[in-house]
Symmetry: C2
């Protein structure tokens, strides 16, 4: 007999990872969203509660990322029941940490556990993408895929995305510093120039190729040389007060690289374990100088994605 309810956890994620705008992302399992899905006699999707660090989200299923994702899943699988969702947000709104993606992912993973014939993660991907489109105004997968699959994830293609997990050197820790301000993704996208100089394209592709090669071959020196965004970060950094000081502090204290998480304003750094706390403190100091309070987290980038936890 199928279960009546299930709770899933989906991790936050860092989109772009500096060198892979719209194609790379990695999970950040220290925080995430939880969604509980319960079978209902009534068809369709209802959202009974949104709790946690963000509450001001739509309760109408059609307009909610988690609701929209599950509506699509039920329309396709036709299980003969409806679903009630309760959403517990662990990811701040407008933080650049893939909060809308995580809610959509947790919702489809929880609902999937109720189905008589559960789908694969690859199949769930497209439903979660539909959900996230409600929040971001466009279909993106660079937060969805890392939250769903876990680890550092490359996604190639939009229609039928190919997802591949890239190994992360085990010595790497990720430091996240979230300043207490919101930066809507739409605004952060609108600021971007539609054209890129060819010489900048070459520089960025060298960085991307060096970063991936460094990950595959456990070459921290090459990652350090390559983990630099020369296309997007220079355009967006003015939206984040203190960004230059935050980044400089991270690099001066040993970080291999430091850039904007997704559309910001959260800033991430990759570093070795022993440097992580110093890097974090230096980054916080950069925001404090601007009068911004921060939340911070440090964790390894394990390749564990969204999962049923109850």
């Amino acid at each position: 007999m199928s279960r009546q309810s299930a709770t899933a956890f989906a991790p936050a994620s860092i989109g772009n990872v500096a060198v892979g705008f719209d194609v790379l992302g990695h999970s950040f399992p220290a925080i995430g969203d939880r969604v509980r899905a319960t079978r209902t006699e009534r068809p369709g999707v209802t959202i009974s509660a949104i709790t946690g660090v963000t509450k001001e989200l739509p309760l109408t299923a059609e307009n909610n990322t988690a609701g929209r994702a599950v509506l699509g899943l039920l329309e396709t699988t036709q299980p003969g029941f409806g679903v009630e969702l309760t959403i517990e947000k662990g990811i701040p709104l407008g933080s650049g940490l893939g909060g809308s993606a995580a809610s959509a992912v947790a919702a489809v993973v929880a609902t999937n556990a109720l189905l008589p014939q559960p789908l694969t993660s690859q199949q769930l991907l497209s439903f979660a993408m539909q959900g996230e489109a409600v929040a971001s105004g466009a279909v993106h997968v660079d937060n969805i895929a890392p939250s769903l699959f876990g680890g550092l994830v490359l996604t190639v293609g939009i229609e039928r995305p190919n997802v591949r997990q890239i190994p992360v050197p085990p010595a790497i820790r990720c430091v996240l510093v979230h300043p207490h301000m919101e930066l809507p993704t739409r605004e952060a996208r609108q600021i971007l120039s539609r054209s890129v100089h060819l010489s900048t394209v070459i520089w960025q592709t060298a960085n991307l190729a060096g970063f991936l090669t460094g990950c595959f071959t456990d070459d921290l020196a090459l990652i350090r040389e390559s983990l630099q965004d020369v296309i997007i970060e220079p355009q967006r950094q003015s939206l984040i007060p203190g960004f230059e000081a935050v980044k400089r502090g991270a690099l001066e204290h040993g970080a291999l690289g430091c850039s904007i998480s997704g559309a910001g304003p959260t800033v991430f750094a990759w570093c070795e374990t022993d440097d992580a706390e110093r890097v974090r403190d230096a980054m916080v100091a950069g925001f404090t100088a601007q009068g911004l309070a921060c939340d911070t987290w440090i964790c390894a980038i394990d390749a564990v994605g969204a999962r049923v936890v109850d």
Copy 2:
């Protein structure tokens, strides 16, 4: 006692490899240039003969890629003797096969064998780059590094280039089809737009990341999906009569990808061993329809670079 003369072979190379403009290249060991270096009492560099498929190259050392490269090497190492070079060109001029790079590489590798304290390949790289700058009008390393080190090679940075060999799946063969026409590198570079649309940048970076991931994980399906140049090839293909038919023929006969070798007009395809001859024949047919005769070669991409052969 040091040797009086040495002959080195340096393979041809395929710059860009479709997805890595100015950062990727791979050697093509079926053809290459040979340079013999002989010690002379008189200091400096003399070029006594240029033979083989291309003879119309400058004999003045300063203006010759091989000569210039060896001049730099001797100026730095000060071995107390001069060098006489004889150059045997196996690589056609203006073919997009890295002929000027191969001559420079073979010349420094041969000369290096005469030095009492030979330099490392990494040290030789910059001298070969100086040499190639004479021919191409700019410092590029995406032919030099593959010819020197062998295999599929990523180069990051220009001042102190970082070189990394990327594994190529052993099932891969490279088909080269060289139509009998010349396409000067300068012309092929001048045609390029200085700006790239952001959406195209994203597409190309996804292809580059997919291609590298496919190489590191022996995933031919991912290489097939990714080995596509959406930035440079669309701009340059009009310079190569019949290119569209050549490429279509290659893909229809099983090639994983097909694009322009370096600045062209040579076209390359990656395919599996069993498909290689069919792919070659289809590519040749595309050029034949334009009245262009061709040379063709098929080989594996082994990671053996330039070397002393005599």
